[in-house]
């Protein structure tokens, strides 16, 4: 049962930018900050319409996170923005102490996550941020799959009280979720129901999983595809329900295998319901320069890779 419709291509960061534009008009408490990457973060309209609610920090991400924490004290809802690498690993301790442990209502919003930022190469291609943010107590971690979902998540976060990490990307990718969706934090979205395998995917990998699902269907395999847009809190009920039915799992993420969605699912299964699992993820290596498509293919994050891992995991079912 196909629950999605492909419309056009758009970058998820524009979903963030357009969500911010809407928040700028509807929620006077929303403010945003940026560390010299305004153009990349697509917040130009928000800033133009609400110049007093934007703070340029220059190339100083640690300070940006602290200032965001401080702004919450006066009742604001800050969205500090930068590239994913500089909004996670660069400032982990600042997020940890001033935001997560202090329980500040900060929405860290980061673009250019993963390999698909392309040509800039490995120094910018963070593939460990989900591991970091997932291991941090008190952090909500969201990695939406397309423009519409990113926009909806951006808007939903303003009404959610507590620290959050919203991760999105650079390239234009298919839009296939509902433009009028209400984003439910922590509630997985079943893209396709199926009975032979559970494919759990997050971010840009959801579309690849859908493509894989079509290839698999031709092979007579009925895949259940579930979009895990919220990595934390993880929708373990949805995961277990699906795996109890299909008895095997493929997890798909634009991230290291170590510490990411795959490990979160493995943890859930190991403690609750055993099933073979295969990982579609980066295998403990740094990325490199190239086009997004080239990189996704080279590092095994394509629909083809998902098909391959699916066939493998189905063969492992006892």
């Amino acid at each position: 049962m196909k629950k999605y419709t492909y419309t056009e291509k758009q970058d998820t960061r524009s979903g963030f930018g357009d969500g911010m534009t809407e928040l700028g008009r509807t929620n006077p408490k929303v403010v945003t900050l940026c560390a010299d990457l305004v153009g990349s973060l697509k917040t130009a309209t928000f800033i133009k319409e609400n110049p007093e609610r934007f703070f340029q920090t220059g190339i100083a991400e640690a300070n940006m996170m602290g200032i965001a924490a401080g702004l919450t004290i006066g009742g604001y809802i800050p969205y500090p923005t930068t590239f994913a690498n500089f909004g996670s690993g660069r400032v982990y301790d600042q997020i940890r102490q001033s935001i997560a442990y202090s329980n500040k209502n900060v929405k860290i919003a980061v673009s250019h996550a993963g390999l698909t930022l392309g040509e800039d190469g490995a120094t910018h291609q963070i593939l460990e941020d989900i591991a970091m943010m997932r291991s941090m107590p008190n952090m909500t971690v969201i990695n939406p799959c397309d423009y519409n979902q990113t926009k909806a998540a951006t808007i939903a976060l303003a009404d959610h009280v507590g620290p959050a990490y919203l991760r999105f990307g650079r390239p234009k990718v298919p839009i296939f979720t509902d433009p009028n969706q209400k984003f439910e934090i922590g509630k997985a979205w079943t893209v396709n129901e199926g009975k032979d395998v559970s494919i759990f995917a997050t971010g840009h990998l959801v579309w690849e999983a859908i493509q894989a699902g079509e290839i698999l269907a031709e092979k007579g395999i009925d895949a259940e595809i579930i979009n895990i847009h919220t990595i934390k809190p993880l929708d373990t009920a949805a995961i277990l329900k699906s795996v109890r039915k299909t008895k095997c799992v493929v997890t798909c993420e634009e991230h290291q295998a170590n510490g990411g969605l795959g490990d979160a699912v493995a943890q859930t299964l190991a403690q609750n319901f055993l099933a073979p699992q295969e990982y579609v993820a980066v295998n403990d290596s740094f990325g490199e320069s190239g086009t997004p498509e080239q990189l996704m293919a080279k590092y095994g994050l394509s629909a083809e890779a998902i098909v391959e891992k699916t066939l493998k995991v189905i063969a492992r079912k006892s």
């Binding site: 920090t57 640690a62 300070n63 602290g66 200032i67 401080g70 702004l71 006066g74 102490q97 202090s102």
Partner: protein
């Protein structure tokens, strides 16, 4: 520099100094008793900054006196229309906790739980246990000024004309994040901010001169665009109070204010002064007695 002060106010001011000194003596007793009670914690910096925190909380800062449950001050996280204080060098939590308790935020008896399991008085200050008076966690150095700047920006957005104060260590100035914050505040004209550096010349591994020469912090902050002033003796209550008043007076003119406050680590307890030795160790029973003998009990021990 001569400051004009009307005669009646001057009398009043001098009386207050005596009162403040009495409070400070009690706070110093609390500090040494707290660190002794859990055999850990940081007396040195706490004692050195006692006069500042007493001056801030008992005279300089405007704080809502609304009372809540149990007759304690009712604490609002957002601090609207109040002056705010942030402690960036979170290891000197003993002085912060004592001053908050003595000011009426919570029962002084709770000071005995410091650093013990299930306490709201964590080794380093935190909002996580909901202790009234604390607005952000600190302990990992270098972060507090950024947070204070954010709070000051929020005040401006809210049209709230009260001030934001932040205290940092001098060793702490070695953290890069401090200089990110130092460059931001003048650029964005955060002039409702008064930052204070506890210039005690000591850090864990020795004197700041030896460990990592901070050189001329005045020249540095000036180069970064701050209005810099000094408190020549941060362990003289009158100087502290005057310094804080001056800082407030010169604020609001487009520049953040930096107070370089000279203190003595361990001030008030002779054998804790003069080196970095008492940065982070607790006195034994004998040392406690020797310390308390130098500190008159003015408000009653907890």
């Amino acid at each position: 520099m001569a400051i004009f002060v009307p005669f009646t106010i001057k009398i009043d001011f001098l009386m207050q100094i005596k009162e403040l000194e009495d409070i400070a003596s009690q706070v110093r007793r609390d500090i040494v008793r707290m660190v002794h009670g859990c055999a850990s914690g940081h007396p040195g910096g706490s004692l050195g900054c006692t006069d500042l925190l007493v001056g801030l909380y008992f005279q300089q800062m405007k704080i809502s006196n609304r009372k809540g449950k149990g007759g304690f001050l009712s604490f609002r996280m957002d601090g609207v229309n109040e002056d705010l204080f942030f402690l960036s060098n979170g290891h000197i939590s003993p002085v912060f906790y004592s001053v908050l308790a003595r000011r009426g935020y919570f029962d002084v008896a709770e000071l005995s739980t410091f650093r013990k399991i299930d306490s709201r008085l964590q080794g380093h200050p935190t909002t996580h246990e909901h202790l009234p008076g604390i607005r952000v966690a600190s302990g990992s150095l270098g972060q507090g000024m950024s947070v204070a700047i954010g709070a000051a920006l929020a005040k401006k957005l809210n049209g709230d004309d009260r001030m934001v104060y932040v205290l940092m260590g001098d060793g702490e100035q070695q953290e890069g994040q401090i200089w990110e914050a130092a460059q931001f505040a003048p650029h964005h004209k955060v002039d409702n901010l008064v930052a204070v550096i506890d210039l005690n010349g000591q850090q864990i591994d020795g004197s700041t001169d030896q460990v990592m020469n901070n050189r001329d912090l005045k020249a540095k902050y000036k180069a970064f665009g701050w209005r810099v002033m000094e408190i020549a003796n941060g362990n003289d209550m009158e100087e502290v109070v005057k310094g804080l008043r001056k800082a407030k007076r010169i604020s609001g003119k487009g520049q953040p204010i930096m107070i370089l406050m000279n203190t003595e680590m361990g001030a008030g307890v002779d054998f804790m002064m003069g080196s970095h030795k008492w940065h982070g160790i607790a006195p034994n029973d004998e040392q406690l007695a020797a310390a308390l003998a130098q500190l008159p009990e003015t408000l009653g021990d907890y």
